[in-house]
């Protein structure tokens, strides 16, 4: 009896160590190597440009459209609540603060993880499965410098820009619904927003958040791709894990960053 319990505990420990601790250590080492080998992705910047195109430019449509709709929904919902307290002019404050501080970086990050992160993982995983990475090594081309680092930097550069675009589109959507559709006074919509939103406190912190999310998402994406078992099943599992892990990472990091930034801890 006690032998089986010990066996169970041992199995649990082995599973945690093998699938979490070991992988986390490998992921950290992988990030370090990626950073160390990222010289070529800046010297031959067209490699990174290509990845910015795939991660950033191709995500533009989904980011812009969802930003617009999120802003419009915020406008409708915010107006509905604010009008009860007779302060519907504060709609601009509500829309802009919630977008710039939270929704912009977080929702753009989630969309980025599922749109670009999964693509990065699938691409690298498939390269590994079809032994393109090994072929590169055979030709003395470092696959980390040639394949991983440009994708990493492409994602890191794209993410803050996408989050800023999301927030800007959202503010525009809130303006469309609040001012154009419902008829909140345009002057007080903008002026209350401008007096409530602070550049350093709100805008800059939002940009920092989105940069952190960008690093987290692309790190997870390139690592999962590189670590994927070289089978069709393995690649599909790695793609799923990328989306799940980076979504969780974004939400957890968001809590930590918000606690650090806005509570003055």
């Amino acid at each position: 009896m006690s032998g089986r319990v010990v066996e169970l505990i041992r199995e649990l420990g082995a599973r945690i160590v093998n699938s979490w601790v070991w992988r986390l250590g490998f992921a950290c080492r992988f990030l370090w190597i990626t950073l160390k080998e990222s010289g070529p992705s800046f010297r031959r910047f067209h490699l990174t440009i290509r990845e910015i195109y795939f991660a950033g430019v191709l995500s533009l449509v989904i980011i812009l459209v969802s930003g617009l709709f999120v802003g419009m929904v915020l406008g409708l919902q915010g107006y509905d609540t604010l009008v009860r307290y007779g302060s519907s002019e504060a709609l601009g404050v509500l829309v802009s603060l919630s977008l710039v501080r939270e929704l912009g970086p977080v929702v753009a990050g989630l969309l980025f993880a599922s749109r670009a992160g999964s693509a990065i993982t699938a691409e690298i995983g498939l390269m590994k499965a079809t032994e393109q990475l090994s072929a590169m090594e055979m030709m003395a081309v470092d696959p980390i410098a040639r394949v991983v680092a440009p994708r990493f930097w492409g994602g890191v550069i794209s993410m803050p820009l996408l989050a800023a675009l999301f927030s800007a589109m959202g503010v525009f959507g809130g303006y469309l619904v609040g001012v154009r559709l419902i008829g909140v006074d345009e002057g007080s919509f903008w002026s209350q927003m401008q007096s409530a939103v602070d550049f350093r406190e709100d805008i800059l912190n939002g940009v920092i958040k989105s940069a952190v999310f960008g690093v987290a998402v692309t790190w997870i994406a390139v690592f999962e791709g590189y670590d994927a078992p070289p089978t069709a099943e393995g690649v599909s599992g790695a793609t799923t894990r990328t989306v799940v892990e980076s979504s969780l990472a974004i939400l957890a990091l968001d809590f930590v960053l918000t606690a650090l930034m806005f509570r003055g801890l």
């Binding site: 800023a164 401008q194 940009v207």
Partner: protein, 158 residues
């Protein structure tokens, strides 16, 4: 497959859009440029018995127009009063005997400092202190005063 030139064009466009969005957020949403920077303001001080819920960066208004921002709030341990530093835009000059009040915009709105111009021929300089101030209205004090007056009225009738 796209040529490198096309790729550059799209990525450049993307970067321009993204930086444009950041500029829009900082200039139009956060109003970075027209918030008074330290270069063109002069500081004056005002002592209040009670500042209520006044916060740093609250507006300083005169005749309803924003003329500056609250720079710093601290407690003076000698006179037991709050010392509020007001950064006034140097485009606006006020007479030396102007007075400051802490007012509330609307019933539940945020508090701001209202400056009422006096009649002196000499204007306030940087570092001057406003002599005439009126504290924030604290609701508890107001209710206390009201109850006290009611009680006093009742005593008088007897």
């Amino acid at each position: 497959m796209m040529t490198r030139k096309e790729l550059d064009l799209w990525v450049g466009l993307f970067a321009v859009l993204g930086i444009g969005a950041m500029l829009f957020l900082s200039l139009k949403v956060a109003n970075l440029l027209s918030s008074f920077s330290s270069a063109d303001v002069y500081p004056i001080k005002a002592k209040f018995e009670n500042i209520g819920g006044l916060k740093v960066r609250a507006a300083v208004k005169s005749a309803g127009v924003v003329v500056g921002r609250v720079g710093e709030i601290r407690f003076d341990n000698e006179s037991f009063e709050a010392v509020v530093a007001l950064n006034i835009d140097s485009r606006f000059q006020f007479p030396k005997d102007s007075s400051a009040k802490i007012l509330t915009s609307g019933l539940l709105g945020e508090q701001y400092v209202g400056i009422t111009a006096g009649g002196d021929s000499v204007n306030l300089k940087a570092g001057d202190t406003l002599k005439l101030t009126q504290s924030a209205v604290v609701l508890e004090n107001l209710i206390g005063q009201f109850l006290y007056n009611k009680a006093a009225e009742g005593d008088g009738k007897k």
